[in-house]
């Protein structure tokens, strides 16, 4: 179901899954081209949460991303965070965040019960990745996205807030749990992994149940 939400800069849309009451998971996709690779996967997680665990979820289109009418060269990190917070307020209920990759940078200024991150990517690592793509593909912009300098300047200072953190096996950074799977955000052709989505939905559901008691 598609619903609107209002934030200070206008109106955007969000996809809603599951029941209209109880805890609700607010999902943040990664920024830029990784968002396209992770959208179907995020939807699979939210669908599994709703259908197998009866937990609601929303996937907002944040300002300047996806179907938003605001061009990417006009966005700031603060706009993305404000959009995420507004979507969480609109979703109502007891909100929990689900940040995927650099989406984990967007739930810092939202009133939320707890945070859950999958393979979070800090701002300085995202900036290095963007600059490397920029140098490599010899084209204006960053992998097809035009970004303001202020956005890039903000990135090194962007960190993920403390959260339950899940990473893929083979990742040596601190994590609460390692799961088997491929880095879908790197696949040359966008893929989904429904088995991993079901596994992550189970982890989210168990964690939310523990947080609620």
């Amino acid at each position: 179901m598609i619903e609107p939400y209002d934030w200070a800069g206008g109106r955007e849309a969000m996809l809603r899954f599951g029941p209209g009451s109880g805890p609700v998971v607010i999902a943040a996709l990664p920024l830029f081209e990784e968002a396209n690779r992770m959208r179907a996967f995020a939807v699979s997680i939210l669908r599994s949460l709703a259908e197998r665990h009866g937990i609601a979820g929303v996937l907002p289109e944040l300002p300047g991303t996806g179907e938003s009418l605001i061009p990417s060269e006009r966005i700031a990190i603060s706009d993305l965070r404000a959009g995420f917070a507004a979507a969480a307020r609109t979703a109502g209920g007891r909100a929990y965040s689900m940040g995927i990759r650099s989406g984990a940078l967007l739930d810092g200024s939202v009133v939320i019960r707890r945070r859950w991150h999958f393979a979070p990517q800090p701002g300085d690592a995202l900036l290095r990745a963007l600059r490397r793509i920029h140098r490599t593909d010899h084209a204006p912009g960053y992998g097809g996205h035009r970004l303001p300098d202020t956005f890039l300047d903000e990135l090194p200072e962007c960190h993920a807030e403390p959260a339950r953190t899940i990473r893929l096996e083979g990742d040596t950074r601190p994590a609460d749990r390692l799961v088997p799977g491929r880095a879908l955000w790197r696949e040359p052709v966008p893929e989904n992994d429904t088995a991993l989505a079901v596994l992550l939905a189970e982890d989210l559901a168990a964690w939310i149940r523990a947080c609620e008691t």
Partner: protein, 85 residues
């Protein structure tokens, strides 16, 4: 070293879209850059970024050359030296 090798193997699998069987057969002498058509310059950028992320290391542009990317062995040794400081 084994942990780094497992990580590099996983990164090549994911970024280049290779099968588990194919990367499992990679050994020290398996040629990479110039031998794998999937490994173009954008894929190299993805491989370097993903190795940085998973191993918590930084790779500078001037460290990246044909020798480092020549084989699975040279790439793994480079990453291991970085990871061990």
């Amino acid at each position: 070293m084994l942990e780094v090798e497992t990580t590099v193997r996983g990164v090549l699998r994911d970024v280049l879209g290779l099968s588990d069987d194919r990367v499992a057969a990679f050994d020290e002498g398996t040629p990479l850059f110039g031998a794998l058509p999937e490994l173009d310059s954008l894929a190299v950028a993805g491989v370097l970024t993903e190795i940085e992320d998973r191993l918590g290391i930084l790779i500078e542009d001037d460290e990246v050359d044909g020798e480092m990317l020549e084989s699975f062995g040279t790439l793994t040794r480079f990453a291991a030296q970085k990871a061990m400081g």
